[in-house]
């Protein structure tokens, strides 16, 4: 922890009393000395107004081309909507198997959590200046992963590995389209690992929801390896891929 008077001491004109405090304070003393040294450095040579004006040409052209600001929720709606469409569409399109969940409560409880993550998580990934909410949502993704493993009945059925590969492939295939949408949406923002991770988690949750409702294998090992692990890999892949994508606007 730093001294509570640090900001008062490190002001342009600290009071004599604040300076006296700095002499004895082990936090403020060294900081004030460094602060004073930096004050001796001259401002960078000012750039002529004409040169500075030349830097705004692209901004003025952009403003002329798009005079109306696009509200932030348009992109949030695009991502959450794509996730919802894919989750519902894939769930309806796949054939229904006998339930392999510990109970109906687990079945629909986990489905509700994954659905919530797909839609609300996608929305939260885009909301501006909501880092704490995104951090909270990140904890929710961990809870969803745990629930997705614990909800199985424990009945593995036959051909565990081949069926598992099928599950992982299906999950990735279902997530492909919203992943592209998320990739596009994420390029609209400055690159942020937390935001991209949450967007990837919401996309993966849409694919995992469809699997969750249809997979006939209820063993925890199968669920962890072929449902949750590919989901996490999608998140990592999203974060890694974002580093190579261009950025449309560096705003947070």
């Amino acid at each position: 922890m730093s001294c509570a008077r640090l900001e008062e001491v490190l002001s342009e004109n600290p009071s004599a009393e604040a300076r006296a405090h700095a002499v004895t304070c082990p936090d403020c003393g060294p900081a004030l000395q460094a602060f004073d040294v930096l004050g001796q450095v001259a401002e960078p040579t000012p750039v002529p107004v004409a040169a500075l004006e030349s830097l705004k040409a692209s901004s003025v052209a952009e403003l002329r081309e798009r005079p109306r600001a696009r509200p932030w929720w348009v992109e949030a709606l695009v991502l959450a909507g794509a996730n919802a469409l894919v989750a519902v569409g894939a769930s309806m399109a796949m054939s229904w198997h006998q339930s392999q969940h510990a109970s109906l409560m687990w079945r629909w409880g986990a489905a509700g959590a994954l659905g919530l993550l797909a839609v609300v998580g996608g929305w939260i990934a885009v909301v501006p200046q909501a880092k704490r909410v995104r951090s909270g949502a990140l904890l929710f993704t961990v809870a969803c992963a745990v629930v997705a493993v614990l909800c199985g009945s424990g009945d593995a059925g036959g051909q565990a590995f081949a069926a598992g590969i099928g599950c992982a492939t299906t999950e990735c295939a279902i997530s492909a389209v919203p992943m592209l949408v998320a990739g596009w949406v994420m390029t609209r923002f400055s690159s942020s690992g937390l935001r991209v991770w949450l967007a990837g988690a919401s996309v993966g949750a849409a694919g995992m929801l469809a699997l969750h409702l249809h997979c006939p294998n209820g063993s925890a090992a199968h669920l962890a390896t072929f449902h949750v692990a590919p989901w996490l890999m999608l998140c990592f892949a999203g974060v890694a891929a974002r580093r190579f994508l261009p950025t449309f606007a560096h705003a947070p």
């Binding site: 730093s2 900081a31 040294v37 450095v41 901004s59 400055s190």
Partner: protein, 172 residues
């Protein structure tokens, strides 16, 4: 800002006139390059125009603008465009008559010391010392708590004190 969001180019001109020089100075210090500072200033204001719909009503403008500038600089650095510190020969040797006398040796030492700080500490110190942002504003800009910014600034200044010890001694 409201007029700017509605597409008023005069409002943008006013924002640019008020902040462009300071933003460029911040980017100049952050990147140690005149050319990069120009490019990033351009990119910062282009991002401002493109993302103005994301500015929340009632929020403070200055921290948001510096957040954009800092993000642009981070992206620039991550993509490998960061230039190494220029040597003595790259320092300006001719200064206009009207300009204040510059202590180039001091500037170089301070620049090198700042360069040794972790990015988050350097950013906090540049915004606090040179751009005049309060710790609360820097916290808003970085998306962290005010106490986290105080710790960053404190550690940064303490490290600078170690690196510039003799200069600090001369001044005190």
């Amino acid at each position: 800002m409201e007029r700017f969001c509605a597409g008023d180019s005069q409002a943008f001109d006013a924002l640019f006139a008020r902040h462009a020089g300071a933003v460029r100075g911040f980017l100049r210090r952050l990147t140690q390059s005149e050319a990069a500072a120009d490019d990033l200033t351009q990119l910062t204001f282009l991002s401002l125009v493109r993302a103005r719909g994301r500015f929340l009503a009632g929020a403070r403008f200055k921290p948001w603008l510096y957040a954009i500038a800092a993000n642009a600089a981070k992206d620039h650095r991550r993509r490998g465009a960061h230039e190494t510190l220029p040597g003595d020969d790259a320092l300006p040797v001719q200064v206009a008559d009207a300009a204040p006398v510059r202590d180039l040796g001091l500037e170089k030492r301070v620049r090198e010391a700042l360069e040794q700080l972790p990015e988050a500490q350097r950013e906090a110190i540049l915004l606090h010392r040179f751009q005049g942002l309060s710790f609360a504003e820097i916290a808003e800009q970085a998306g962290v708590t005010e106490s986290a910014v105080k710790v960053r600034a404190h550690r940064g200044y303490e490290r600078l004190r170690e690196l510039l010890g003799d200069l600090a001694g001369e001044l005190s």
